[in-house]
């Protein structure tokens, strides 16, 4: 199999398109995972607080 990475005179258009696509995927993955992690921790923290206050009331 022969790979052609030399885009010649079109390199100035081809590589930015691939770079932009990679950047968009990195942002989508990082933002989705960070947001999920943040809210999961917050929900767990509040759940733990609720358990503690329940115990204190007893």
């Amino acid at each position: 199999m022969h790979f052609d990475f030399d885009a010649g005179k079109y390199a100035v258009y081809v590589w930015p398109a691939f770079a932009l696509t990679a950047a968009a995927f990195v942002w989508m993955i990082a933002d989705s995972l960070a947001s999920a992690r943040r809210w999961r921790r917050e929900a767990e923290r509040l759940q733990a607080l609720k358990e503690v206050s329940k115990e204190a009331k007893r």
Partner: protein, 249 residues
């Protein structure tokens, strides 16, 4: 063997938040892994494909531009269906699904427009032209941004969800306009060269395969990220409910 629960619905894993969380816990990484494998195969085929006799090396942009354009429309369809279910059946998970896919749809639309522009300059001699296909995709981006803006502009979350769902449903009208724009109006943009191609316009296999595989990679990536973002919404709502309970004492 236990008796089958008569109230159990086959789609419970999508409509019941607890079952959804159990399902998405393994489904999200599975779709992510499938997307990674497909992307590697697709990129190998992308750079192994020969130069086009007319477009030269710019033909490789087709394998990242077309999937982005297809997926941004597919995501809007998902947004429309989820918004409809949230609006009519007031289903919280449907609303979470709607709000979770909008940022991803906006990102794929930006990608479709930007990679299209980078392809258009060497092929058409211009970065942008106000033709029907490009303009209708720009309108799609505005619908996504409008949806996101509306959701964050209103303080009452239920009102915001309802208003944004109505906006999302109005925007569904734009999907057939995008699809058929190149047939209804004169356009610089080419017509379909894949599933709906006219005889003789279909892509040769050496270009069709990488495009199909990259489209499936984008689709799997979206599936994975959508599930992750819906999970995030479920946790956010749980945190909000717990915070409210605490505030009420």
């Amino acid at each position: 063997m236990g008796a089958r629960d008569p109230h159990h619905h086959p789609l419970d894993f999508l409509t019941n938040p607890e079952r959804f969380m159990a399902f998405s816990r393994w489904a999200a990484p599975m779709f992510g892994a499938i997307a990674a494998v497909l992307a590697v195969v697709g990129l190998v085929l992308t750079f192994a494909a020969p130069e086009d006799y007319q477009q030269g090396d710019t033909v490789r942009m087709m394998f990242i531009h077309v999937p982005a354009a297809v997926i941004c429309m597919f995501i809007y369809l998902c947004l429309g269906v989820a918004s409809f279910l949230a609006l009519v059946f007031r289903h919280a998970l449907a609303d979470a699904a709607a709000v979770a896919c909008a940022p991803l749809g906006a990102a794929f639309t930006v990608l479709a427009l930007a990679t299209g522009s980078l392809w258009g300059k060497p092929m058409w001699g211009t970065w942008w032209v106000w033709d029907a296909r490009l303009t209708s995709v720009l309108v799609l981006l505005l619908f996504y941004l409008g949806y996101l803006a509306l959701r964050s502009a209103l303080e009452d979350e239920q009102k915001a969800a309802r208003a944004a769902a109505i906006l999302a449903l109005v925007g569904v009208i734009n999907l057939p306009i995008i699809k058929f724009s190149v047939e209804w109006w004169n356009s610089l943009h080419q017509g379909s060269s894949t599933l709906f191609a006219k005889p003789g316009d279909a892509l040769p296999a050496v270009y069709a395969w990488p495009m199909l595989i990259m489209t499936l990679a984008y689709l799997s990536a979206f599936g994975s990220l959508w599930l992750v973002r819906i999970r995030s919404q479920v946790w956010r709502r749980k945190a909000r409910a717990l915070a409210l309970q605490q505030a009420e004492g």
